[in-house]
Amino acid sequence: MTATQDIAISVRDLKTFFYTNNRCNKALNGVSFDIKKGKTLCIVGESGCGKSVTAASIMQLLPTLSRIEQGEIIYHADRGDIPLHALEKNGRHMRRIRGAEIAMIFQDPMTALNPVYSVGFQIKESLKYHMKMVGQAAHQKAISLLKEMGIALPEKRVNDFPHRYSGGMRQRAMIAMAMACSPKVLIADEPTTALDVTIQAQIFELMDKLKREHGTGIMLITHDMGVVAELADDVAVMYMGNIVEAGTVDEVLRQPTHPYTKALLASVPVLGKGKNQDIKAIRGSTPDPLNRPKGCQFAGRCDFATAQCQTMPEETHITPTHRVMCWRYKELVPNG
């Protein structure tokens, strides 16, 4: 296990439920993981598995009809451990951490910036509230941030409105905004889904650079396995509100143990294998989150399901870092 001082945020047995029409959607059903300082944790899984809810739970940006039911989110700050789950949602303490120590960037840079304020204004807002930096100092800081993110002519661009930025530039501006106060942790919720592939590569390169140079811990939500292989230090695979398998990137990608991870990897097309390659789609579809199956959520789509899968398997450690939630993992561990 990693020493505590290397961990920025630890999440333990997190349960976040959504309440709609008097029905309860257990969006997160007991999720545990660590975001390490200066490392990238990738959370992968298909749509609706709870990736974004995890991010929103950490940031305390959950919608009104949902709440953290159980579990802890501990932020290991320099000034001591802070239980984020216990802080008031939009209270003073939470606000002080948000944007300053834990920052977030969103999926669609086209809509995530306010169209009526200049990019500079929006960066300076963070500086003003967290670092008490205003006027010329803030302006220069905003320019240097944009420059660091690779925006050309930052002195001129800082006064431009978001609609004059391209998609990739807006995401760079978003990252500049998020990095304004040198946060300890950066949460990126599918930051490149709305961008084209070349820009994606540039954005990821930028994030990797930030991780190395600033020691920022990154939690990257994605469903792109290529991105995981490229960027991740640790990987957590989510399915229907649970982390079904987690470990270092080598463990999860090279020795996938959970049937879902295996299926997920088998469904990724590989460049260069030609058009006749065998891409195995996962059969069936995800169950209705309001009407979940008993036990293992994946059992209905799993080739290895047995009667035992009617009860939820415990989390089991294969190695100190590699853990999986499956009854039959022993038979499934590659290479014995």
């Binding site: 944007g99 920052a103 969103f106 306010n114 169209p115 509230y129």
Partner: protein, 320 residues
């Protein structure tokens, strides 16, 4: 931006010309003329047709339609609005006495409804689904759907007749000099005029604000750790403002053209009241002048709205 404004102002002239022509044509198509309204039917029976014809000729009504329109229009360009046919008073004088009364009401209604309407709308949106929101929604629907004259009559019945707080109607009394003296007269018509507009602004502000609050950049603003008031007002309301400004802008001409119904109900000596009596007596020059005034108000208001939207929203670029 400046060239755009100049161009828009220049376009006003041909537009005003065309609209005035259409109004003139409409008046021409109505049966009867000013003379038939001037002379009491009993007296008209005993009058000599040549006398009536002479009166028509003296008012210039004998000339063909296009000649009359053209002479009205050329006079207008020289700054001459003409004379009222029924009273012989210069129309410029009529407007000079009537317009301030109307503008007085319009200004109060506009300021009141803009401030209160946006405030309640934003409140309603922020407290969405609460009791306050439901109550405001019901009040808003009532305000929008119940006709003004009904509010006016109810207000007169309660506050003027039963309670005796305010005068029943009119704008002034002999011996009243200052605005303060006239204030009691203004309260009821201004409030009733404000109700409809306030309700409209409130409904608009609420939906516009809800729309703005559901956008992604609100989450971004919150994720930056900004305080709630800043998230809601600077990021939410600022974006929600554009549709509200458009709504208020397009109500402007209605208020300046005179709220005909309110001025009737409260016997307010404004443009709207004058308009009614001018149309009744087919007093062409007066009707035309007021129509021109309304046309200009509409065109100028839409120009103002365009400029304001460009100021509020940087994505709007005028004249590109």
């Amino acid at each position: 931006m400046l060239t755009y404004i100049i161009r828009r102002v220049l376009i006003l002239i041909p537009m005003a010309f065309v609209i005035c022509f259409l109004v003139y044509l409409g008046l021409e198509l109505t049966p009867g003329d000013a003379v038939s309204h001037m002379i009491n039917p009993d007296a008209a029976g005993s009058m000599n047709p040549t006398q009536l014809e002479a009166l028509r000729q003296s008012l210039g009504l004998g000339q063909p339609f296009h000649v009359r329109f053209w002479s009205w229009f050329t006079n207008l360009l020289q700054g001459n609005f003409g004379y009222s046919m029924s009273g012989g008073v210069p129309i410029a004088n009529i407007i000079a006495t009537r317009l301030p009364a109307t503008l007085e009401l319009a200004a109060v209604a506009l300021v009141f409804s803009t401030l209160i309407g946006s405030l309640l709308g934003v409140l309603s949106a922020l407290k969405r689904g609460s009791k306050t929101d439901s109550a405001l929604t019901v009040i808003g629907m009532l305000g929008v759907s119940i006709p003004e004259f009904f509010f006016g009559l109810v207000a007169i019945s309660i506050f003027a007749l039963n309670l005796g707080w305010f005068p029943v109607g009119g704008r002034s009394m002999p011996g009243y000099v200052t605005l303060w003296d006239r204030l009691p007269h203004m309260v009821m018509p201004a409030m009733v005029l404000s109700i409809m507009l306030t309700a409209g602004v409130m409904r608009y502000a609420r939906s516009s604000m809800l729309d703005a609050l559901s956008r992604d950049f609100i989450k971004t603003a919150r994720s930056k750790g900004l305080p709630e008031w800043r998230v809601n007002l600077l990021h939410g309301f600022r974006v929600a403002l554009t549709p509200v400004v458009v709504l208020i802008g397009f109500r402007l001409p209605v208020l300046i053209g005179g709220s005909v119904i309110i001025e009737q109900v409260f016997q307010w000596p404004g443009i709207g009241n004058e308009f009614i009596s001018a149309v009744r007596s087919q007093d062409y020059p007066v009707v035309m002048t007021i129509a021109l005034l309304s046309v200009m108000a509409v065109l100028v208001a839409s120009l103002i709205v365009d400029i304001l939207t460009a100021v509020i929203d940087p994505r709007v670029r005028l004249g590109e």
